[in-house]
């Protein structure tokens, strides 16, 4: 981990760092709970500053503008989905809005205080992902369950056959005791096939490639395991239905 950024936190919270400087702090914060905690304290004061501003009535049309823009971004279920999935899936991201949303999610996540000051390297990574996805792929969002709420991952099945499926996780919890995350694909018969095994990299965003194509599977899931191979035995961290066979 890089050196603590204690010295720059006031500047950061007030928005007084230059864009390049802020990126460094953002990156450090993503992996340092101590600095995050300190920043949260400073932010309580900074977030009180708007209280002293003279209140001002926004134009009446603004609310409608916001709601109508947001409503166009509510993902609609795919035409075939209703045939096999009756429950709405929470947190699902529409493919169309994906490239833009992915960049935004990344930024918000890394740093809820200084939105959009994304490190250049991560922007580049996301550009790559957006590029892969633009080949007409599909994606499904897995929501963190129970104590893993806040974590999540999007499984991407790129439209081009030579690109392997992959998952982009966000906010994965660190693991202890030599355990690791495993990504599984589950078929209609309830067979679990391991698609990847990995340990969290400590970053807010992490991409993981799968060694198994998603065709013929109906669900994807993430568990915590003691072993790098073998059957599933650990607790379920996240899960989502994916397209059933033949559709």
């Amino acid at each position: 981990m890089t050196e603590h950024v204690t010295d720059d936190l006031e500047l950061y919270a007030l928005g007084a760092l230059g864009p390049g400087e802020a990126d460094g702090v953002t990156a450090h914060l993503a992996g340092c709970p101590a600095c995050r905690e300190e920043l949260a304290d400073i932010a309580t004061v900074v977030n009180a500053l708007p209280d002293m501003v003279a209140l001002r009535e926004p134009p009446a049309r603004l609310k409608e503008r916001i709601l109508s823009a947001a409503s166009t971004e509510i993902p609609r279920p795919a035409r075939r989905e209703t045939a096999w999935s009756v429950r709405p899936r929470r947190g699902w991201l529409g493919v169309g809005a994906l490239a833009a949303a992915a960049v935004l999610l990344l930024a918000l996540d890394l740093n809820s205080l200084r939105e959009l000051r994304t490190a250049e390297s991560e922007r580049a990574e996301y550009a790559l992902i957006a590029d892969k996805v633009s080949h007409g792929g599909t994606n499904w969002y897995m929501v963190g369950l129970d104590q893993w709420q806040g974590s999540g991952g999007t499984l991407f099945a790129p439209g081009k056959p030579d690109l392997s499926p992959f998952v982009v996780f966000h906010d994965l919890r660190p693991l202890t005791g030599g355990t690791m995350y495993a990504v599984w694909l589950v078929d209609a018969g309830g067979h679990w096939v391991r698609g990847a095994t990995f340990t969290p990299n400590g970053q807010a965003i992490q991409g993981v490639d799968l060694t198994v194509p998603v065709d013929n599977f109906t669900q994807c899931a993430v568990t915590i395991e003691m072993q790098a191979e073998g059957k599933r035995s650990g607790p379920l961290v996240m899960q989502s239905r994916i397209a059933p066979p033949g559709q």
Partner: protein, 185 residues
């Protein structure tokens, strides 16, 4: 839920993450005015302020799933998005700075605050806490937060070393924090 109990912010955030438009509407009703006031204060014009608030709410809508409570409450989260966007717009608008100190301060000064702000205890407390700071600390914080100046610009603007700018912010914010905590205790 009782009809007369408005949902807590955290409940609204969860609903927002579940793509509930009514939660977005509720968050707008709750903080839209403050968000707009902040954006207007930074940008000084209504059209740009409107766009900033619009974009900030849409960005909150998109990013709600990744919001985490440990990093601040929903109000602070939303305001920080507004602040960041407004400063971003301001910086793009004014390519070369600093302006002379007097110009900067005129823009960052809040002449009408005392007259127009709601007479709400929280607001009074913040204003008093800021006003109680030595001039140099108060101006440094105001110019950074409302004026959108970077520490490098502030050092040039105020004719002091970078370390001094940093120190003024740190001590000023610490004092304000103690003052705010004192009144909340």
């Amino acid at each position: 839920m009782a009809a007369d109990t408005p949902p807590a912010d955290d409940v609204l955030m969860a609903a927002l993450a579940a793509r509930d438009l009514s939660a977005l509407a509720a968050l707008y009703d709750r903080y839209g005015r403050l968000a707009y006031a902040l954006a207007y204060r930074i940008l000084g014009e209504s059209e740009a302020a409107e766009d900033v608030v619009h974009d900030a709410y849409i960005s909150a809508w998109r990013g709600a799933a990744t919001y985490r409570r440990e990093r601040g409450n929903p109000r602070g989260w939303l305001l920080s998005i507004v602040h960041h966007r407004a400063v971003d717009v301001l910086r793009r608008k004014t390519a070369f700075r600093p302006a002379p100190l007097e110009v900067a301060e005129r823009r960052a000064a809040d002449e009408d605050t005392a007259l127009m702000a709601e007479k709400n205890v929280e607001q009074q407390t913040v204003r008093l806490a800021l006003q109680a700071l030595p001039d140099a600390q108060r101006r440094t914080i105001e110019l950074a937060y409302f004026g959108g100046y970077t520490h490098v610009e502030l050092a040039a603007l105020m004719g002091v070393p970078l370390g001094t700018v940093k120190g003024r912010m740190r001590i000023g914010l610490q004092k304000m924090r103690r003052a705010l905590e004192g009144t909340r205790a």
